[in-house]
């Protein structure tokens, strides 16, 4: 995953995204250009329906643009086959969701271990790495607990451990503090900031919360499918 031309990790050029609802076409993103350098902590803000999550999905290879190019680490991902795209996501992307999206029937450790099932690591190595990830987020002592036994903040930290366990290039967070109280939210933001500053993770975070966006190194605003550096009224 190297981009010899410059230090840009994510590059989107002329990206359109159109959703069809019956015969109606909804243009969510139109001709969007974006560049994100390695090691950046980018906050994406904007009103509901502005296309923040859609953009996150396109960068993370969870969806494909209707038009345009999406490159990550110099690799064009919008043209990859489903199988190759899945393998690429497994290797390069960590995802953190607003509602944690943990498997309720698996312990925190097993939840964190999930992405490692797609690797060739041995059972012992998977367990070791999952424990390390839980340790990083401060939850080593809760490894055997199930999501229902964890607080919201702890569940989100488990979600972050799951996102970083494969040591991905890119961390995509969709409103990671949206379901948490201020204190827990701050702890999550501290954690994300530490991952960015200490481990050099490139993070893109979608948020409605100006307080959360302040933790990022750059904030972009999305409105009606267009990006700007200034908030829109």
């Amino acid at each position: 995953m190297t981009d010899n031309s410059d230090n840009i990790l994510v590059r989107a050029q002329g990206v359109d995204k159109v959703f069809k609802r019956g015969s109606e076409e909804i243009h969510v993103l139109g001709g969007l250009d974006l560049e994100i350098p390695r090691g950046e902590f980018l906050a994406l803000m904007g009103p509901s329906g502005s296309g923040k999550s859609t953009l996150l999905n396109l960068v993370g290879g969870l969806d494909r643009p209707s038009e345009g190019v999406v490159e990550v680490g110099g690799k064009r991902i919008d043209k990859l086959s489903e199988r190759k795209l899945a393998a690429w996501r497994a290797r390069h992307v960590g995802l953190v969701f607003q509602f944690y999206n943990l498997m309720p029937v698996l312990s925190a450790l097993k939840n964190v271990e999930l992405p490692l099932l797609l690797t060739r690591l041995s059972k012992a190595e998977r367990k070791k790495r999952a424990n390390v990830a839980l340790d990083i987020v401060g939850l080593a002592h809760r490894a055997g607990h199930y999501p229902r036994q964890l607080s919201g903040g702890e569940q989100q930290r488990t979600g972050i451990a799951r996102a970083i366990v494969t040591d991905p290039t890119l961390l995509l967070c969709d409103e990671p503090t949206g379901d948490l109280d201020r204190k827990s939210g701050d702890e999550i933001l501290d954690l994300l900031q530490a991952l960015n500053q200490e481990q050099g993770k490139t993070i893109i975070m979608v948020t409605h919360d100006i307080h959360a966006a302040e933790r990022a190194t750059r904030t972009l605003y999305l409105n009606k499918g267009r990006l700007s550096t200034e908030p829109v009224d």
């Binding site: 999550s53 859609t54 999905n57 993370g60 969870l62 969806d63 489903e82 199988r83 899945a86 393998a87 996501r89 497994a90 290797r91 995802l95 969701f97 999206n101 498997m103 309720p104 029937v105 698996l106 097993k110 999930l114 992405p115 099932l117 797609l118 059972k123 799951r162």
Partner: protein, 383 residues
């Protein structure tokens, strides 16, 4: 293997629903195993029937008798090796529900014709030496707790004796075993000469002939030649392969195979609905989770395999328990306390059961699995 805990963890999500679904699958496969044993009991005779044996009976009906003199004429037909006659006795031992087949035969002919009936030389000699002697199959002897030397009284419903009595008493001089697993050991044979001399009527008449042909491929031609031999006589014959004869005999009760197949079809159709419904709910409830699996790198095919794996685990657990329980029940004995000639689940049906488990898992799981496969990550995460 590393996905197994994921599969079984998913099934533990709704324990009651999973438990009830497994229970219904257990019942279906328990029925399958048990009914297989019953079907086998009725089909065993057909399956072990000799391909080189014909049955020659009266053209009108099996209850019409044939002259014993036909035997030598049958043996002179080209392609016939030897012939042996039998007659339906139809007596009652103690009470009517104790049904079993009793037939007067010529001992030497019986063992020539049916090498699958295994009797020790010593007991054969005893039978030849005892006019009122009889032999019973191992299954029959065990059913009634008979042992050698017992005197077996049988009340005749057809064949009264010359002295006016209806109770025939036989000395049990032998207990035969089956050379194969499916050999019928529920029968009772006694000597024809004793029977012929003692019966009040029908002297010189027999029920049917079993005929061994030299070349099984020419059995149809030999059967036609035998029937031609007795055409236009007072007792015309109908000759057919032994298997067809036994099948016809079993069909007097009803087409057991068809009845059992109908029951099983209804049961498995219901099970498919139950298991399919469970799998559909399982997938619908976990749309978000399946989308997360895809998001973190599971391929479409990987998710399809997981859902099919859950379906297989569900049916495998239920099916294995059901088949195991049916095997246990069958090994405890047949439901008629021994009236059935054989009672076991054939190996073929155990494999068929395993095949059914896989088929049920596939059919119940394939639609939800395809839905999971087609799931669009972004759409599913928005829900």
């Amino acid at each position: 293997m590393k996905y197994l805990y994921l599969i079984f963890s998913s099934l533990k999500r709704k324990k009651l629903r999973t438990g009830l679904t497994i229970l219904s699958i257990v019942v279906a496969f328990l029925l399958f195993g048990y009914l297989s044993a019953i079907r086998q009991a009725f089909a065993a005779g057909v399956e072990v029937a000799g391909a080189d044996r014909l049955i020659v009976r009266h053209k009108v009906s099996i209850i019409q008798l044939l002259p014993q003199s036909y035997e030598s004429r049958i043996e002179q037909v080209e392609g016939v090796d030897n012939a042996a006659h039998s007659t339906w006795f139809g007596g009652i031992y103690q009470e009517p529900r104790n049904f079993f087949a009793q037939m007067p035969v010529v001992p030497e002919e019986l063992f020539d014709m049916y090498p699958e009936y295994v009797l020790s030389d010593e007991q054969k000699k005893a039978w030849l030496a005892t006019r009122s002697g009889a032999i019973a199959g191992r299954g029959l002897a065990e059913r009634f707790g008979w042992k050698l030397g017992d005197r077996i009284p049988i009340n005749a419903t057809i064949w009264s004796k010359k002295d006016g009595g209806r109770t025939w008493e036989f000395d049990l001089v032998g207990i035969y075993d089956g050379a194969e697993k499916g050999t019928d050991t529920s029968q009772f044979f006694f000597r024809y000469d004793f029977f012929d001399e003692t019966r009040a009527f029908g002297e010189g008449l027999v029920g049917w002939y079993t005929v061994r042909v030299s070349d099984p491929d020419a059995a149809a031609e030999v059967a036609a030649a035998i029937d031609a031999e007795f055409a236009n006589s007072p007792s015309e014959t109908k000759s057919e392969p032994e298997g067809a004869f036994i099948q016809g005999f079993a069909n007097q009760i009803g087409n057991i195979g068809f009845i059992i197949m109908s029951i099983m079809s209804a049961v498995f159709f219901t099970i498919l609905l139950v298991a399919g419904n469970t799998m559909a709910y399982t997938v619908r409830e976990r749309t978000g989770e399946l989308a997360v699996l895809k998001a973190i790198g599971f391929t479409d095919r990987g998710v399809l395999s997981l859902v099919l794996g859950e379906s297989l685990a569900l049916t495998l657990v239920g099916g294995a328990i059901g088949l195991g329980l049916s095997w246990l029940l069958v090994s405890m004995g047949d439901p008629t306390q021994g009236s059935l000639p054989v009672f076991y689940i054939p190996t073929r049906d155990i494999f068929l059961g395993l095949l059914l488990i896989a088929a049920t898992a596939f059919v119940a799981g394939i639609i939800p699995a395809l839905q999971a496969q087609k799931l669009q990550i972004a759409d599913a995460l928005r829900r």
